[in-house]
Symmetry: C2
Subunit: 388 residues, 2 copies
């Protein structure tokens, strides 16, 4: 499967973005439109303080039909009470009016500072005229969603006659749980809403749900998929494989662009007793601050891998059969550190992609988690996110 | 209860420390001795890759009797296989010989880099003559245990005719589970080993087990308590209260001296459905990188408190009744952010101690967790711990 060199939309999808005045000059508003009603599914954060757009979105997605998604950055519309819900509804209504649809066909996303009222009049004014700006370049929409992302993220791939396109933003407060930051997936393949929902859940399970930048689960996470059917039927297995591959690729892009990150860390755990345990241990590796700083500093302190595995005290971990590799170089065998060459490990850590593989010898289950290193950049960004 | 201005030992306990050559010049070896056999209990890390001293220590403590503790820093003797166990035994034997006891009465601790063989000959040579250096100042012993600690940590308090003395080290790879980093507690009160064990578990449960510097559970955690009985019987309730208070105070000292830390963060959750849930949520607050960086930067981005509470998706959290305070200043009421004064919150975060209180309105249970802010200092220390 080859991703397109330059991401493009499936037939019948377009987007626009602009600065509406929430930020001084950067883009802060994005609109994604399907020319026709699309089958749709969406997964949302499981955080117990979901934002107003999540509360509204859970209601909207029940119909399994969407025409558009409207998203703003800078303010997340979380912890804003009844007025927040009302503002999310006004945002959907403004987008619906702009494209000639009904508000119940518009999904709303807001990300940014928690607990500040949405300046809804500014957004409503900003939406006016966006239908005249619609283009078929998904990067344009991605630009309108960015917060601390360092670049706009989009991907696309062909499956038979159909196309699948991913548009997403990161990049902090990310350990998705049942859903993820903002990730939108568009396709012109024809599937009904229950099928879209099933395929999306399966793909998210091994991709966005295995991503962690900083262990913090956002109150605004949304992953939505729209299928407008303009390309007709495609083989479901081929579609599911492409969907999963693209979700994993986008997960890696989000991890690599985690706040302050300089490396993608991919942790694979094999030989686990169960998939659940493999997932817990793989997540423990990418979430360990001591693993993250070790990779950042290219410090061959690989005993920390055993620490991060061993702290999963509820899992079956036989110390005597645990092996580990860093970018295919063996560093632990049978629970003991091998007398490896420090310089080879340092060189492995210097790669942009650092792959840590742990084989437990406890069973046959495996899982992979995606994360990034922890740098002073993360701290600089998050020590003044609200004030700056 | 008043801690002594200058920590001192109970009757019959002394210690010594020195540089034996593991580090260039800093102290790297500590010896704590009771003149007589003491009743003893110990809790160890639940990490699945326990160090050799932990494996040996679990065997040693079964008798409920100890005469001495010997500890080195720089190398943790973890992931070192059978040879590691043998080296831990040799360390116990060397200390036993030096003080005229048997090896089964000596508890061994090693902390530092994981996966490097212990230079046992250097340690054996270093132990020789330490019995001539024994003094009654617990700070001297604490100095020999330090790794990245910025100062040597000891406390003492009187209970009736008895004294309780705590000696501990921090300061990274700390989220103890059933035990903690290295914390030794000495008393001349008379209690048998089962009582010491019961009292220690109860105190650790609300103190060291609620401490997290970085969510990483060390492979070397040990908390041991020795009671030599020289002061005779003391009231058990008064003793338990003093023991718990001292463990909490030492926990706060360890959190405040977490690697790179500039603030102690104390998170109290009230109104939870159960103590287990209160503990999970309080830990989630002190473990959130976004809370930690917010405190570090004195950035009044307090919506993050709701995020950190709400990501405990398995807990009962009614958004509509959740309130929050920072150093007694109300910032959230009924799940909504109050229109607070940013400057008051900034000033609260400027305090060395930042107390976050969350009231859930879900029940009557409460718990307190202890942590610290996340700074560039943590990253600097841990990106080159092995190499430097």
């Amino acid at each position: 499967m080859e991703f397109h060199d330059r991401p493009r939309f499936p037939r019948g999808f377009r987007c626009a973005s602009r600065n509406c005045g929430l930020k001084p000059t950067a883009k802060d508003l994005a609109l994604f439109v399907s020319d026709t009603d699309a089958s749709a599914a969406a997964l949302f954060t499981r955080n117990k303080f979901p934002g107003a757009p999540i509360i509204l979105g859970r209601e909207t997605i029940k119909s399994g039909r969407l025409r558009a998604i409207v998203a703003n950055s800078k303010y997340s519309n979380v912890a804003t009470g009844e007025r927040g819900i009302e503002n999310a509804r006004r945002m959907a209504a403004a987008a619906a009016k702009e494209i000639g649809a009904t508000p119940d066909r518009v999904l709303v996303s807001s990300t940014g500072v928690i607990g500040v009222a949405l300046p809804i009049e500014i957004i409503e004014r900003g939406i006016i005229g966006m239908s005249g700006d619609l283009v078929d370049d998904p990067i344009v929409g991605a630009e309108g969603m960015m917060t601390t992302d360092t670049y706009a993220k989009a991907l696309s791939v062909s499956v038979g006659a159909a196309t699948i396109t991913w548009v997403a933003k990161g990049s902090g407060m990310i350990e998705p749980n049942m859903a993820t930051m903002l990730a939108y997936i568009f396709t012109d393949a024809a599937f009904d809403a229950p099928t879209i929902d099933r395929l999306l859940r399966a793909a998210v399970d091994v991709s966005f749900n295995m991503l962690s930048v900083d262990t913090d689960t956002s109150t605004s996470d949304t992953c939505a998929m729209l299928a407008n059917g303009l390309a007709g039927s495609v083989d479901e297995s081929a579609f599911a494989a492409a969907l999963t591959a693209g979700c994993i690729r986008m997960t890696e892009m989000l991890a690599r662009d985690g706040e302050g990150a300089e490396h993608l860390i991919r942790a694979t755990v094999r030989g686990a007793r169960s998939v659940v345990e493999a997932r817990v241990i793989a997540k423990s590796i990418v979430n360990s601050p001591l693993i993250k700083t070790m990779v950042h500093g290219a410090d061959p302190n690989v005993g920390r891998i055993l620490m991060a595995v061993g702290k999963c005290t509820e899992c079956t971990i036989p110390p005597g059969t645990t092996d580990a590799w860093i970018n295919e170089y063996a560093v632990v065998r049978a629970g003991e550190r091998l007398p490896f060459d420090d310089d080879i490990v340092r060189a492995a850590f210097a790669n942009e992609v650092v792959e840590i593989v742990v084989a437990l010898g406890a069973g046959t289950a495996a899982a992979t988690a995606y994360g990034c290193d922890l740098t002073k950049g993360y701290i600089a960004e998050n020590a003044s996110y609200y004030s700056s």
